[in-house]
């Protein structure tokens, strides 16, 4: 039996957050790789080509052993869900497929309670992390070089993905801040996101 593959799903807005969403998945996978984990990160193929504002999914997977089923379309059972634009929680069941006790990270200026009221299946959550990423570094880098399997020529974590990754490190054991620090470009925003994240434990 292969060891557990930890699935992380990122929800972001098409085009305006396509690269930032991908940066979150790539940044997480690359940072986890720094501590010797087996990782992969990929775009949801069916969500592409992405259109301005469309909700789209980026995926990361982390495992202690080699990931055997690499060629899949979706993360069916995410244990961490990251929402790069908070309004997505209103229109999508972002926790779909999550087992009880999962973590939700939301980029928002609202409090965890204000977000939870939009999530009918919130009892699945063990933890919610909110971070006002836009206030820390709200830039949304739009660049197509890394899309469709291309090689990103800008670098990871220049904009809003940096504070979101910092918040993730506060709310999850899957990745450590030090390792993110080695990967993310905007280190100041990364650390601010880590510091300013509001973590609320549920259940």
């Amino acid at each position: 039996m292969a060891s557990k593959v930890h699935q992380v799903t990122v929800w972001a807005r098409g085009v305006v957050q396509d690269k930032e969403g991908r940066d979150i998945a790539n940044g997480l996978a690359r940072a986890a790789g720094q501590e010797g984990k087996f990782t992969q990160s990929f775009d949801n193929y069916v969500d592409l080509p992405d259109r301005v504002n469309v909700p789209l999914r980026k995926y990361a997977r982390i495992s202690d052993e080699e990931i055997e089923e690499r060629y899949e379309y979706e993360n069916l059972h995410p244990e961490v869900v990251i929402v790069a634009d908070a309004t997505i929680v209103k229109g999508i069941d972002v926790l779909r497929g999550m087992e009880k006790g999962g973590t939700l990270v939301v980029a928002t200026d609202r409090r965890p309670e204000d977000i939870l009221k939009f999530i009918p299946n919130r009892d699945l959550l063990g933890k919610i992390v909110c971070v006002d990423a836009k206030a820390i570094c709200g830039d949304r880098t739009v660049d197509f070089s890394g899309s469709e399997g291309g090689v990103d020529s800008v670098g990871i974590g220049q904009g809003i993905s940096a504070p979101i990754l910092g918040a993730l490190a506060r709310g999850s054991e899957l990745v450590k801040l030090d390792h993110l620090d080695a990967v993310v470009k905007n280190k100041d925003a990364l650390h601010k996101g880590h510091e300013q994240a509001v973590v609320k434990t549920l259940n």
């Binding site: 807005r13 098409g14 969500d47 301005v52 504002n53 469309v54 909700p55 789209l56 999914r57 634009d85 908070a86 309004t87 997505i88 209103k90 229109g91 999508i92 069941d93 779909r96 928002t108 609202r110 204000d114 009221k117 939009f118 009918p120």
Partner: protein
């Protein structure tokens, strides 16, 4: 002979019936970060919002006295706000409203 799993069906030759009024299998209201909000007293029925909406989300009501937004499909591009001649439309953050978006399992 073959067993087609639910949710994977495709009609013969991939020919589908034309939708009537709207395409309810592709609800796009959840694309919206900011919704256009109308101040009716400022509206002079210039019709720009109706004509310039790429998603045909604005219509006149039956009495043809005011414009009505179809929130189920509005993607929040806000062209309407940019084009509104009397400035009767403003952008309102979607999380400030409890309703107005159809919640979906998947993006489509």
């Amino acid at each position: 002979m073959f067993k087609i799993p639910k949710g994977k069906e495709v009609p013969l030759g991939c020919v589908t019936p034309a939708p009537v009024g709207e395409q309810p299998m592709m609800i796009t209201g959840n694309w919206r970060e900011f919704r256009p909000l109308l101040e009716p007293e400022k509206c002079d029925l210039c019709m720009n919002c109706i004509v310039f909406c790429p998603d045909a989300c604005f219509q006149l009501d039956d009495a043809e006295e005011k414009v009505v937004l179809n929130e189920k499909y509005c993607k929040g591009c806000n062209i309407c706000i940019n084009e509104c001649a009397p400035g009767a439309l403003t952008a309102a953050y979607e999380l400030d409203f409890d309703d107005g978006v159809v919640r979906l399992d998947k993006p489509f």
